[in-house]
Structures are given as C-alpha cells and as structure tokens.
C-alpha cells in the first residue's frame, strides 16, 4: 500500500507579506515552510506506516527549486522518497494548473492514496484535491478527521452537520485530512540526518508529459488589482469600568448599529 503525500511550500504564517508589481507573492526575505495543514497529511500517512498499513510514503511537491527544502523537512519526519516538479512555465500557476501538474505526476507514481492537507495556508480555496481527483478519474474522500485503510478501501471520518459520518471508497483514492488527525511529529536529529540520504527526484513538465502550452500560461485567472482593506474606524475600547457599566455601553454600541 503506497501513499503519496502532496505538500506545498508556503510563506510562514504571520510573516509580513506583499505582492510584486504583477500581483504575485513577493517571496524575497520571507521564511518558507511546509504548509502547516499539509503536516497533518504527513502525520496521517506516517501513522499508517507505524500501524503497518502503508508500505511506503512518497512526498510530491510542485514549486520553485527551493521547494526541495520543504521536501527534505518532510523526509526528516519520516517516509521514503520525494519528487519535486519544477519548471519555469509554472510560475504563477493557479489551482487548475496545479491540479493538471500534480495529476500528471501522480499518474506516474500510481499511489493507492494521494493524500493532501485540507487547504493551503496562503490560497485557502481547497480546490486542488478535488480537481486532481477529477483529472485522475478517482473518488475524493475529503476533510477526514481520520483516515483508515482496510480490505482494498479507504475510509474517512468526516464531520456532518450534526455529528460525523464514515465515508468509504475503493482504492485508489484522493483524500484530504484535517488537523484532527493529531499533532504532527517533530523531526528528530536522526531523522534530519537520514533525510539527507533519501532520494529526491526533480522533474520538469516534459518529464511528466505535460505540454507547457496546455497550461495556458499557468493560470485561468488573474489578479487585476490589490488594495488595502477599507479603513476601519479605530477600535473603540471599554476598560477599567464595572461589569454593569461595560454591559450598558456595549448594549448602547449594539443599539446604535441596530444590532439589537
């Protein structure tokens, strides 16, 4: 049973970010990390290895050459090998183009489970996993609080409106998991040393059989403008007053805005 975990390198959460003149993220001087939500997918995959259910874990990423660093960090947590798809034609790729590329790489890797985080920290559309499933012609099991594999099928425990469901599909599948799978493990010093010797393959679009022309410049969408949010009035503060006084003033504030 083979798992491929797709990971994305993103700017560190909370880092001071800005756009370049053509509205791409300016990565200069911004610390890059594994998308924090992908770490839960890594953790879920490694749990399945620990349980003797998965035989191998491969990491797959699409990004600039520097994304190899994220793959090395993932390998330090565990797993066997990694693949980086990098190509000049992919700068500014949107969700659609990313899905085309990941699906082509996954066709080559042919895992039983292609596992992803539930969203990326920077884009937050959660659109890539389902689009990859569509491109691969596979079922999608999404937002799993837990993933199990048995008898040729994958199951996720997913929150429903009023409880939770177990949803099942026959392998192979594309699956995503949430932060409820448990805190990601830390890379040990031994793991960091071992990661340096694990295979990391770098592939171009040609290597995975994707014609750059088919990617239509890497995106079907474009940002046309960016501006600061509407200036909000400064925060009003109520402090150093008794609870009853605070309550009266909050109620006045709500009433002035017709909220009560």
């Amino acid at each position: 049973m083979k798992i491929v975990v797709c990971i994305k390198q993103v700017p560190a959460t909370g880092a001071d970010k800005r756009y370049t003149a053509d509205y791409r993220l300016d990565r200069t001087g911004v610390e890059a990390i594994i998308n924090p939500l992908d770490e839960y997918a890594i953790e879920q995959a490694l749990k399945l290895v620990d349980a003797g259910v998965a035989d191998s874990v491969t990491y797959l990423s699409m990004g600039p050459e520097s994304a190899a660093e994220a793959l090395r960090r993932a390998l330090a947590m565990g797993g066997d090998d990694a693949v980086l798809v990098t190509d000049g034609a992919l700068a500014g790729a949107d969700e659609w183009a990313t899905a085309v590329v990941l699906a082509a790489a996954l066709a080559r890797l042919a895992p039983d489970v292609a596992l992803m985080g539930m969203a990326s920290d920077d884009a937050r559309g959660s659109l890539v996993p389902g689009a990859v499933a569509a491109k691969r012609g596979l079922p999608l099991l999404s937002y799993g609080a837990e993933l199990t594999i048995a008898d040729g099928a994958a199951r996720i425990r997913r929150l429903s409106a009023t409880g939770f469901d177990w949803i099942e599909a026959p392998l192979p599948v594309v699956a995503t998991v949430t932060d409820q799978v448990g805190e990601p493990r830390y890379a040990s010093l031994k793991g960091i040393m071992a990661a340096k010797r694990k295979p990391l393959e770098t592939l171009s679009l040609a290597d995975i059989g994707v014609d750059p022309a088919a990617l239509r410049g890497g995106a079907l969408t474009r940002v046309t403008d960016s501006r600061a949010p509407e200036a909000k009035p400064p925060t009003e503060r109520i402090e150093n007053v008794a609870a009853a006084e605070a309550a009266t003033r909050v109620a006045d504030w709500l009433a002035a805005r017709k909220l009560i």
């Binding site: 569509a134 937002y143 599909a169 949430t178």
Partner: protein, 326 residues
C-alpha cells in the same frame, strides 16, 4: 451564455441557507449580465423544494438528485448539467461540500476558479471577484484570463448575499439526465453518528457568540449560550476550545473550522490568533471581550471590552434582555 448558475444544496428536506443566498446573488448578477439565474439542486428535499427557489429569483433549476449522499458524489451529474446549460459564472458556497463540488468541476471541465470571495459582480462581460488575501491585509480583485472557458467557478462566503424574502416566483424545474457513473460516485457513507443536539448550523447564523480558551470550559460556554440566545444567535468557538472538548468541532471557527461572515461576531476569551481570524475576519461587526488588554483580537475588533467575561457576559445578557423587555 450569460446565465448565472448556482449550487443549491438541500438536506433534511429543506434548502441550506447558502442555496437561498446564492439564488439571490445569482439573480442579482444575472440582471447585470442579461441572463437568468439557474440553480443546480441536490440533496434530500431538492425535488420538492427546487421550484420555490424562484422566490429568490431563480428562473430555472436543474435537479441533480434528491438523495442524501455525500455532495461530491453529484460531481458527475453536475458537470454534465453545466456542460448543457453553459453560463458566465457558477456560484458555489465556500463550505466543505461546495468546495468539493467546485473543485471537481474545475478538474472535469477545466474552468477558472475563484475564492473564497467576499464580493462578486459582472463587469465588462466577465465575472470580477474580491478576496481578502495576505491574511486580511489586502483586498485583491480577480478576473478570468481572456478567452478562459466559462462558467467561472466562484466560491462565495456565507452572508455575502442576503436571501430575498419577498419574491413569489416559481422556478422551472428540469431533471438532469442519466444516472451518475463518475468515479466521484464511488464514495459512500457507511456509518452515520449523531452528535450533540446543541450543534447549531453556524452557516445560518447572523449573530455568533464565540468562546475560546478564556471561557475555561462548560460554565463559561453556558454564559455564552445565554447571550447567544437573547441575541437570536449561535455559539461558536476557537480551536483551543474545541480541542479541549468544551464544544463540538462543528462549531469551530477558523482556518480548519468554519469560515463565517455574520453581521455581529462577539468573541469572548479568544485571543484572536491568525488561524481564528481567517475564519471570521469578514464579519461586519466584531466585539471582543478579553481580560488581556493586549490580545491580538484588539487589533481588528471594532469594540474591545477589557475585563472578565464571567462578569461582563451575564451583565450584557441581562441588559439586552431588559431592553428587549422580555
């Protein structure tokens, strides 16, 4: 091809609030694009309720199926229906189900996708969207590239549109063709478990009272429930409170929980970490109650009350109850 499509989810026999919001939004956009609002309805109750979406401005509704099954399993039928109807844009709710279906469509039909957006309009014959990006520090406007396939798929945050209530129209309902043989239909619910009956649907709430670590547990949340009740709202939580087991994960707001956009958000004992903030930053009015005068939530709250929530929340509940005369 200037129709505006929208996903209309039904469950437990009635339309989700998102279906009413998006019907209203699609009708608004359709007026600007000289087209019609066309619903794509699925889930239990869709067959009986589809025509009534006309009240929110839907001219037509295509019924994908009336069964209560994972939304993504309707992806094949949805793609076939969208291929038939065409359209300028497809509005999908920025919920897990809406995202799953939107994502499947993007892959199946090679469509441009946007979201989650806080505004969408038709300008110059194409859709134009507004998104909060860079963790709320920028608002970006986006459009499809020239010559991009249509419809553009747009994930829409809850409460971006207010459901029209005075309409009396009836939508023409048609049924989507052939049964669904797509790979997406291989996913099946094999077990269903009901959780606590207190779980309200945060997507439908226009007032949310959320609690965090500072609530300390059940006693704190009981106070928040009283306040939510008197405001006619729902209770939500930060991840810390959900992880502590004080409240159900269905009520978690933030990056890995719900993204909400209520008229009024009151956060009590919530520090306002970025992971929580991305789930509620588009709320119209934000009130924070916190003992810490320097919590991050103070940077983006409209009203910041520094003090003990165990005293202030019950006092506020009592004050509002008194003013409402009940």
């Amino acid at each position: 091809m200037s129709d505006i499509l929208f996903l209309a989810e039904f469950s437990a026999g009635r339309p989700a609030r998102s279906a009413l919001e998006l019907a209203t939004g699609a009708a608004e956009l359709a007026a600007a694009s000289a087209g019609s609002a066309v619903g794509l309805a699925y889930g239990s109750g869709a067959a009986a309720g589809a025509a009534a979406l006309g009240a929110q401005g839907a001219a037509r509704v295509v019924l994908l199926g009336d069964e209560d099954r994972p939304a993504v399993t309707y992806a094949g039928a949805l793609a076939a229906a969208v291929r038939d109807t065409g359209g300028l844009a497809l509005l999908a709710p920025a919920t897990p189900n809406g995202r799953d279906l939107a994502a499947a469509l993007v892959g199946l039909l090679d469509l441009p996708a946007f979201g989650p957006v806080r505004a969408v309009r038709v300008a110059g014959g194409a859709v134009e969207t507004e998104q909060a990006t860079l963790q709320g520090s920028a608002i970006t406007t986006s459009r499809p590239v020239d010559g991009a396939p249509t419809p553009a798929v747009v994930l829409v945050l809850p409460n971006t549109f207010t459901p029209a209530e005075d309409g009396s129209g009836t939508a023409d309902v048609s049924t989507a063709g052939a049964s669904d043989a797509s790979p997406f239909a291989r996913a099946k619910v094999v077990e269903s478990h009901e959780a606590d009956a207190r779980v309200a649907n945060l997507d439908e709430a226009t007032v949310i009272v959320a609690g965090g670590r500072g609530t300390g547990g059940d006693a704190g949340f009981a106070l928040l429930r009283d306040l939510a009740a008197v405001l006619g709202g729902a209770v939500g939580a930060s991840r810390a409170a959900a992880d502590a087991g004080w409240i159900e994960y269905q009520l978690q707001i933030g990056q890995t929980g719900k993204v909400v956009k209520p008229q009024l958000y009151i956060g009590a004992g919530i520090s306002g970490a970025i992971q929580h903030r991305v789930g509620m930053q588009t709320a119209e009015h934000v009130v924070a109650i916190n003992r810490d005068p320097d919590a991050p939530i103070g940077e983006f709250a409209d009203l910041y009350v520094v003090g003990d929530l165990f005293q202030i929340v019950p006092a506020l509940t009592e004050e509002i109850r008194r003013r409402k005369g009940s």
